[in-house]
């Protein structure tokens, strides 16, 4: 408990089935990561992933049908309890999945929240492996990482417009480059 509160920029934390999620201030994510590596012993950052919550819990998003105590399989029912998902503080979450190479394989998820246009400090200087992870999230989700040495598109072509994994980027929304009519 207190272990997480010592993380720089600590906002909150909650335990999950597989790892705790520690929310930190976006501006202090670098210090938080450095603390996690040097003090808490998380040797590897296995993954950096951004999620777009635009439209989360809004119209057209169906809630989970269950009972007030959860999903009771013995008494299935058609009139369920509609639960709308918990609202998120900002549009994007950026999650850093950390792994410690020691007994029990402890993991943790550092998470920070940004709105469109806000930047996140890069952690490439802490974990070199984040080079491509951050580039991928920049490419597909449009999150800008400040201080990244080479922030360019990674998977999409260099001249691509838009960020495909955003919720306002529709499937089939890409420009048609060739068609039968030509």
């Amino acid at each position: 408990m207190t272990e997480w509160q010592r993380v720089p920029g600590y906002v909150s934390h909650r335990d999950g089935p597989e790892m705790p999620t520690v929310t930190v201030e976006t501006a202090q994510i670098r210090e938080a990561c450095e603390h996690a590596r040097d003090e808490l012993g998380f040797d590897i950052c296995v993954d950096v992933v951004a999620t777009d919550y635009l439209g989360w819990g809004g119209k057209g998003v169906s809630g989970y049908i269950g009972t007030s105590t959860g999903r009771d399989l013995m008494h299935p029912m058609t009139q369920g309890l509609q639960v709308l998902p918990e609202l998120k503080p900002k549009r994007f979450s950026v999650s850093y999945h950390l792994l410690a190479l020691r007994h029990g394989a402890p993991r943790a998820r550092l998470q920070c929240w940004v709105d469109d246009g806000e930047h996140v400090p890069s952690v490439v200087s802490i974990w070199p492996t984040c080079d491509w992870h951050e580039r991928e999230q920049y490419d597909l989700m449009g999150i800008v990482f400040d201080g990244h040495p080479n922030l360019e598109r990674l998977l999409m072509p260099e001249d691509w417009e838009g960020h495909p994994l955003r919720k306002d980027y529709p499937i089939g929304g890409e420009p048609v480059r060739f068609s039968d009519a030509e």
């Binding site: 999950g16 590596r37 999620t51 959860g70 999945h97 070199p128 492996t129 984040c130 598109r153 998977l155």
Partner: protein
């Protein structure tokens, strides 16, 4: 910008950490080897483009290489040629249909990728899987690991001129694909793992056929070793080539065989057991040198270990005939086919699951398994609806390719082929 080196307190389980002094990770961008500034302009530095359709790049990897004579002085990998937007497509499919996607992400280690997605879903659903299904999943994942390592061994030996290895490896690979066809009806990309268990019961003819394979495989491995282990050309091309130290491997986030070949004793199957891996007996091969040869040896040993695990799974499964292979949860699992003709309730459930899909409780989860290439992870966000809000796959090949620049420190152009082959990247996995 300089890359801070991690403190040298040896927290991780290292077998050897003396491959070279300091860090070889390029200082400006960790994944790009820049041409040194002191190399005069007049000097003949030749920029060569490998790929994206070069046969040695395992698919569509493009490497921009700066050569000074035979020596590689600069390298930069360009990926994305196989980007197909799997993660975006999955957001528009129900979970039920989504299972087919992860298999095609890492199209060589398909079974493990399918597993990680299904495990993530089961954790969110808090679904109990029958024992028989768990053992069968392990068996198929281990067969898949052998399959993947055979493809690695065959193709990377082929690139270094040992063409006969390719035929031998693909002979054994064919046996695994036949076994897969026998159980699932598909040679690859089986979609056999269902949320809650397996899609079908195991056919009885599978066990004797699989026994034949596990009896055969150790002999085949002896043959491979006979061809390569003390082969002068193979040793010349692999020993001491593409060295990656334990410290650099960890900083670069390496996992799986690449990490173990650098002397880090780490395997998720043992250190973070999932399925029933804590109930089987196997050892984790670790080698200290971090070169191409050690990456080859780790994978060779893993094939032998996987054969042992398959044998132990078979011992259990043979005694489980008649047991359920999928959870009895009608809100998630399709009802048995024969019930559809007699039970209205089953028909409704079937219809609802196929058309609307099942709903998964709200939450986010990250589940990782030890795929043939390393840690394969699935990050899943659910809003409580029948489609995933966000799916992301942590691709081990993606991370492995980040180490290319570090491995190619003072390498020759011929080593480039050996190094890229030894990192065992599947481009579908890298680009998703």
């Amino acid at each position: 910008m300089s890359i801070a080196t991690p403190p040298r307190s040896r927290r991780w389980p290292v077998v050897a950490d003396g491959q070279y002094e300091g860090s070889r990770i390029p200082s400006r961008v960790p994944t790009i080897l820049d041409v040194p500034d002191d190399l005069p302009e007049s000097e003949d530095v030749l920029r060569v483009n490998f790929g994206p359709n070069h046969p040695s790049t395992h698919g569509v990897l493009r490497l921009i290489v700066d050569l000074q004579g035979e020596e590689v002085v600069g390298v930069s990998a360009v990926v994305g040629y196989l980007h197909t937007g799997f993660e975006k497509s999955m957001e528009s499919k129900t979970y039920w249909k989504g299972i087919t996607f992860p298999e095609r992400i890492d199209y060589v280690g398909y079974q493990n990728n399918e597993l990680v997605f299904v495990l993530a879903l089961e954790q969110l659903l808090e679904l109990q899987v029958p024992t028989k299904a768990t053992w069968m999943r392990m068996l198929l994942c281990e067969l898949n690991r052998i399959h993947s390592h055979l493809v690695f061994l065959g193709t990377s030996a082929l690139e270094l001129g040992a063409i006969s290895m390719f035929w031998y490896c693909f002979r054994e690979r064919e046996m695994i694909l036949d076994l897969s066809e026998l159980v699932t009806g598909q040679r690859m990309h089986t979609r056999y793992f269902q949320v809650g268990g397996l899609a079908e019961d195991i056919p009885s003819g599978f066990f004797p056929e699989c026994r034949k394979f596990v009896d055969w495989m150790p002999r085949a491995l002896e043959d491979y070793k006979g061809i390569l282990d003390r082969n002068e050309i193979w040793l010349e091309r692999t020993v001491g080539i593409g060295v990656l130290s334990a410290q650099d491997a960890i900083a670069l986030g390496q996992s799986g065989p690449n990490l173990r070949a650098s002397g880090v004793d780490w395997d998720l199957r043992r250190d973070q057991p999932y399925l029933n891996y804590e109930q089987v007996d196997f050892t984790v091969p670790v080698y200290p040198n971090g070169d191409v040869y050690d990456r080859y040896r780790v994978r060779m040993d893993e094939m032998a270990e996987s054969t042992k695990i398959v044998r132990q799974c078979l011992d259990r499964l043979e005694r489980m005939e008649g047991q359920p292979w999928i959870a009895d949860d009608r809100k998630v699992v399709l009802p048995p086919r024969e019930e559809l003709h007699t039970s209205m309730e089953s028909l409704i459930h079937h219809f609802k699951i196929v058309t609307e899909g099942f709903r998964v409780p709200e939450g986010e989860i990250y589940v990782a398994v030890e795929s043939p290439r390393g840690e394969s992870g699935c990050y899943l966000v659910s809003d409580g609806g029948p489609k995933p809000w966000r799916v992301h796959f942590r691709a081990p090949s993606f991370v492995a390719l980040e180490a290319t620049a570090t491995c190619l420190h003072h390498a020759l152009v011929a080593d480039l082929i050996a190094v890229v082959g030894s990192l065992d990247a599947v481009m579908g996995d890298t680009d998703r």
